[in-house]
Symmetry: C2
Subunit: 420 residues, 2 copies
Amino acid sequence: MSRTILDLVTTKAKAAKTAARKLANVSSDVKSSALLTMADNILKSNDKLKEENQKDIKAAQEKGLASALIDRLTLTDKRVDEMADGLRQISALPDPVGEVTRMWRRPNGLLIGKVRVPLGVVGIIYESRPNVTADAAGLCLKSGNAVVLRGGSEAIHSNIAIADILLKSAANAGLPDGCIQYIDVTDRQAVTELLKLDEYIDVIVPRGGKELIRFVMENSTIPVVKHEDGICHTYVDSDANLEMAESVCFNAKVQRPGTCNAMETLLVHESVAAKFLPSMCRKFAEAGVELRGCEKTQKIYPDVKPATEEDWRTEYLELILSIRVVGSLGEAIDHIMNYGSHHSDAIITDNYQKSQRFLQEVDSAAVYVNTSTRFTDGYQFGLGAEIGISTQKLHARGPMALEELTSYKFIVYGNGQLRE
Amino acid sequence: MSRTILDLVTTKAKAAKTAARKLANVSSDVKSSALLTMADNILKSNDKLKEENQKDIKAAQEKGLASALIDRLTLTDKRVDEMADGLRQISALPDPVGEVTRMWRRPNGLLIGKVRVPLGVVGIIYESRPNVTADAAGLCLKSGNAVVLRGGSEAIHSNIAIADILLKSAANAGLPDGCIQYIDVTDRQAVTELLKLDEYIDVIVPRGGKELIRFVMENSTIPVVKHEDGICHTYVDSDANLEMAESVCFNAKVQRPGTCNAMETLLVHESVAAKFLPSMCRKFAEAGVELRGCEKTQKIYPDVKPATEEDWRTEYLELILSIRVVGSLGEAIDHIMNYGSHHSDAIITDNYQKSQRFLQEVDSAAVYVNTSTRFTDGYQFGLGAEIGISTQKLHARGPMALEELTSYKFIVYGNGQLRE
């Protein structure tokens, strides 16, 4: 049995590698039109997809999964439309492959260029939402990469159905056979084996909970681009426009609390805390936000629970907010650097020096002045797409779009130069 | 005992992390002048360094290490000078940190910039040559990174002495305490522990033999930029200028055979093989190159050993060359893609279409037309420095210099924008 899983995973990864070599030389036109074909066929298979999806939903109900999870799992007409629409949008984006980002001539006459090339084979390990199957495959193909997909067991029927439509469409539209591989084994051993295939897979992008990401990091010999917690802060400075602060903080917390770029901790300078917090806290309370504050916060607005050390390190992903009053900008930065996850952090201030210091000293993927951390997103940044938000510094940081799915090579034009 | 090693390694990595946060905000002027101070103090400590180096040499002789290894280990006046000189050159390079590589305004008025920042803490695990201690520390500091160094046990006295001078000089010159950490434990457990400290270390750069690199890849939870084999090819096309081909191939094999960018396999189109190979092979033989050829090669130039399947996969790193006669450009590309290591590969041709096809289809870190693979090098490419040559596609590919030791962050200037 275990031998069979290794064989199956290896065969698929190897086929992806073979396809990747061909795909790297496929024109942008062919790739774009293949994505449109994939979108059309997803729409045409709406009934079949919902039928397969029902099997997953039934199994989830039998297992007694939480209704929020079942909701994420469910394919509706609208969600099938959105999947097709996503593929069309990716089709319309500029192809990053082949761009010469720099070219220069050396004193000995060599002409050297740096050219974007696909990474090769991208492995995506993800949980729950079946639309990731189409999104991830679309982004990888557009950037010239073959893709090995491994979704969660709870969505296995939906994922297999989607992958099946995609790979048939891709082959019909002239993309190389095997450029989309779906690992249809629910045994976790399949993941463990996959993570050792550095000979065939160039990068692993895990998308899911903490546990999954830790598992991938600990077991992979393939480079990983990880997407971990967002413990995001907004610091309301003594020189803040308090009206703007209130609307920005409210947006950062309440607009969509379940996302990694939502605010989890509000930091307020002590000189404005008494003026700012009462009305801000009332507004949060009215929106159903549970508040947990430091001692100073509790004195100003008694209707908050005491925040513990643990609160500062917690990504709530729901309508809970921790609040701390700080004595200075330096203290705010220290708090962010010590407790934060280097994802997205904002300062609200009208002071020039303080805005610049915050941008310089806060080492997060996205650092903001006078706006909401909710903007950390490939679409909002104008990158046209997003395969995830990297919380590491190597290769890609923050929102990852098509360019971040490429590498480069050096091309060198000579006429007989020799190294001395 | 094992507890002590973990404590020691963790303490050093943690100290590096603390220093890294400060170092990210140190000006280019301070960093440059610190590197000059380090260079001066290396020179002043010439006698002390050679004294400590003698301990390593004596131990190596007692262990009966090969003379080539002892030579690499030995510090001479010239090598100490070169170490100091290396630091001065790094000092003079432009600082990559703080460069805004792109800045754009979004329709909602947000101004978004992408700014180069240091990676944070770089871990270097290396073997043998003690000058790497100074080179690596210099490159990391210049690019704003704290560095955790772990050299080979055979150079332990030399490495400790060099690191000691560097870290004292750095502190005296105003760099944050702890920005250079040397792991002075020879037990391999120290490496194993280090590779799990992803909380403190942002990237691991292993420099050494295959075994070391495999060990690092298999045990690290920290992202790795690896530097593996160079199985480099030169393909002499049917449309090659054979005179140029002969001088370029000779340069690629003989100029410095022990390097990763030296040619290991020569591919020759069958239509020019009979004309090209006899004189080329004689020239190689005169230079002491052992030749191993395919059957067709053996027919043309009988004085070659038969090449085995294993030969096509071997990085000799010495005066041995495998030779294969191929029927077409496609066959040459297939050979390179199947047996090569995607490091550096060249075509010699006067044909425009074939040169373009080779540049497009060969997926190696550096792809050449009409020149020697020996040019794959940070200095030769004009990057001003080199910390290694990456053979992976993630983060950095090919020669890695200062820019490749940086990450980026997004800075966002708003005036109250909210996400809808």
